[in-house]
Amino acid sequence: MKLHRRLVYVLLLVFILVPMLFGLTFKVKPTKPVMTFFDSVAELSPGDYIAVTLSFDPSTKAELVPMLKALTEHVFAKGLSVIFLNPGSINVSDLGFSVISDIASKYGTIENSDWYYLGYVPGEKAVYQKLGEDLYSVYPASMHGVKLNSTKLYKDVRNMEDVKILIDLADGNSTVDLLTYLSTKYDVPMAAGVTAVMASEYYPYLESGQLKGLLGGLRGAAEYETLLNVSGRARRGMAAQTLAHILIMLLVLMGNIEYFMAKRKNG
């Protein structure tokens, strides 16, 4: 018996909706790449500067916004000074800013004092290289027009060599570009959070030590939440993802049983 395509869609919808409606959660065991990512942030002291580049589009918000939320909670709770910027994607400016400002209000951190949102400038690879030379020649002002030479950031940070770690949250090639043009050349430690489908691409950089840690997809965000001891969207989403994965495995199994039965029947 062949399953109709529409039945497969309905089954998947049910497998995703049920755990979300009933608030099912599973325990997620943190893996080494996530633990090293977490430790790279956890070992910093209050007041240290870190840079977070948002290099994704709203299309991948389901995977990357939970990462951004967990990371922002961590850095604000630790009292780190954070430079947020999105030179790799024009579309994420408002989404990123609203997520960060919501968490900032929870921790009472102040924009342009404890954290900075620099936004988008065109040029991508040239921008990455300029960030290693002079931050203010690329970003003379914040996304909302506040001149950076009147802020504390201007006194403390000249370029990306002055930040303790650069973290890229990405759904494209920006992590490799940042590693090539910024991290390696200017000796800036780097970690990344990427979509699940891209995570395997970055294991060579993780194994070589060029990446200090890696968050892969919703699972990576859920592991980070586990280490932070918070129950956020990623951990809740993992239940839906678990059931969806089980369904896909069952579908593959059924498809193969049908295939071998048909092959046997046809000789």
Partner: protein
């Protein structure tokens, strides 16, 4: 001269940028910084060209009365509406553009991307078959990684853990197998790809810089 001038510019520019990376000379560093500034300025001009190209293409599609003229018309109306609202009402939080972004662009992009899950599940059922040795290896590896990336994989590993001479050993260690697949065969193959691609880029760049490859002049 028409051929020599661009070849000379590429040769000098390419050599300067290559040497600049390895040799710390203030003059070369200043040239490098200047080139980066030019690059960013050119990127801004590229945006202008992209906008011109978008308008021309969509207008042409609309005028030619294609099967679905509503698509180019929607693109043009959306484009000019956002530009108009952006210029006259700004881009700050609470502005009309911000409203459109939060209530149209974000949910639309997220929805379209999420639909992939449905296509993947249907394709997995219809096409992911163990037809030969290679596809069987791929299928087994995929199933292990899928299992190893969900909490159920962790649970199965815990349930099937036995103690052999004081050491814990999971019989169905999906997370461990996943880790091995990702850090051993995956890394080895990816490294080979990366080295191969990089050597290709270096040789092509050298050909262009030295004027051996001149296809870009046409």
């Amino acid at each position: 001269m028409k051929i020599m001038a661009p070849l000379l510019i590429v040769f000098i520019g390419g050599m300067l940028m290559a040497f600049q990376y390895y040799i710390d000379i203030p003059l070369l560093n200043n040239i490098y910084k200047g080139v980066l500034d030019w690059h960013m300025v050119i990127a801004v001009f590229a945006l202008v060209i992209a906008v011109k190209s978008l308008i021309e293409r969509q207008w042409k599609n609309f005028r030619q009365k294609t099967e679905h003229p509503v698509y180019p018309l929607t693109t043009l109306i959306s484009f000019f509406t956002v530009v108009f609202l952006g210029i006259f009402f700004g881009l700050k939080q609470g502005s009309p553009v911000n409203f459109i972004y939060n209530n149209l662009l974000v949910p639309l992009q997220a929805t379209i991307f999420s639909l992939l899950a449905f296509y993947i599940s249907s394709a997995a059922y219809r096409a992911f078959r163990a037809k030969n040795f290679s596809s069987t290896v791929l299928l087994i590896a995929a199933m292990i990684v899928v299992m190893g990336r969900i909490p159920l994989g962790d649970l199965i590993a815990t349930w099937t853990t036995i103690s052999i001479s004081g050491k814990d050993f999971a019989i169905l260690d999906f997370p461990g197998w996943t880790r091995w697949i990702l850090t051993v065969p995956n890394v080895g193959i990816k490294r080979a790809f990366i080295f191969g691609i990089t050597l290709g880029i270096v040789s092509t760049s050298l050909k262009v810089i030295l004027g051996i490859e001149r296809g870009w002049l046409k």
